[in-house]
Symmetry: C2
Subunit: 228 residues, 2 copies
């Protein structure tokens, strides 16, 4: 079994959230399935200095930076196909909402990268499962909307501590035709018909061990669905 | 209890090995101890394109890039002191051997960054434990040599599959006055008198789940020693 892991850079503020991405690689390895890291070969929207929280120059490439998490073992998204995968995980981080789509700037009117949308829709149409972590469900929402499809998913819960406006995110994905569901850290929301799994991760206040615990649950469900 | 995590950049070929560093943050969190990420505020030796395995421009800063792993919650090594820490973990990655010291270029004649050597020696003299993962024992070896001290440590085993010359590394650390001991992936070597723990991690052929398992063992021993 081979599961794609779609990265969007290397670092929470301009790429993939590193702790979530590594937790996915750990969880898939624990489940005995092969992980194939993927990323689009394109410029990052911008580069953030993660120490100061400020933009910095010069530009960086999403695939090249994602390769850091994957120890160089990564494939360009352009070379990936739904046929060769049994499922897909999309870790969070602002890169999902800045590079894979433009949600960070345009909200529900975001554009999603065509190759990203295509892979997601092909997997869904083939009945293969997708796990979207943290903010990544917005990418799935935009892809599904483009394909005239809908799913139930989560960005977290308004009842727990979060640095983000969870109700705003939930209103946003509902504006794209999805159904948003409250979900605490460490739990998952499963859309059984579309085989879409989502889990809040660092959309909520969290810590590295709590991230791994939630990611494990999402990946276990993904592999279960991929085997069914 | 507060344990320092000394980072050396963000990416195996020019900084900290990301999967090892995240595994340390997970393991310390699981053990209920606070992790304080630290890195020297200095230019990286160089920047590697992790996709192509080639050097690239322009320069990057060790502290700024390390902040990606730590989600921005990181302190400059210059502001750290052994007094405020109960122990230290040094993940591997070429950054340990290129930025924290010059072992990658100079072998046993390497120079170690003065602030790194100072922190290590102060911790050892205070009887506080240090866990050095993967190639990071070469940093500890150079610091201890500079302080006229010695310890038993490991870079891995010649009996397992490794992309590196383990016997060459072991000969090198013995040339600095240390005692090298063979150790397989997932196991640890403990110098009880100096309270130095080492474990091979990605010095051997490994995978994300195996890395976490070995890191957990090293961190559990570190916290046990820090509490004693």
């Amino acid at each position: 079994m081979k599961i794609g892991v779609l990265l969007s850079g290397c670092g929470v503020f301009d790429g993939s959230e590193i702790q979530e991405a590594v937790s996915v690689l750990i969880a898939l390895d624990e489940l005995g399935v092969e992980a194939l890291c993927l990323a689009p070969d394109m410029p990052q929207h911008h580069v953030m200095n993660h120490l100061k929280g400020e933009e910095m120059e010069p530009a960086r490439n999403v695939l090249v930076e994602s390769a850091r998490i994957a120890r160089g073992e990564i494939q360009s998204l352009a070379d990936a196909s739904a046929d060769s995968l049994d499922g897909l995980v999309i870790p969070g981080g602002f890169g999902a909402a800045k590079n894979l789509c433009t949600w960070a700037f345009d909200g529900p009117d975001a554009r999603v990268q065509p190759a990203v949308a295509e892979l997601i829709l092909e997997l869904v149409k083939a009945g293969k499962p997708i796990a979207a972590l943290c903010v990544a469900p917005v990418v799935v929402a935009k892809a599904l909307q483009g394909g005239g499809l809908s799913a139930e998913l989560t960005l977290g819960t308004t009842e727990g501590a979060s640095p983000y406006d969870i109700s705003g995110f939930h209103g946003g994905v509902e504006a794209t035709g999805m159904k948003a569901k409250e979900c605490p850290l460490g739990e998952i929301v499963v859309d059984e018909s579309r085989k879409i799994i989502s889990s809040p991760c660092y959309m909520m206040e969290a810590s590295p061990a709590k991230i791994l615990a939630g990611v494990r649950k999402a990946c276990a469900k993904l592999v279960e669905m991929a085997k069914a």
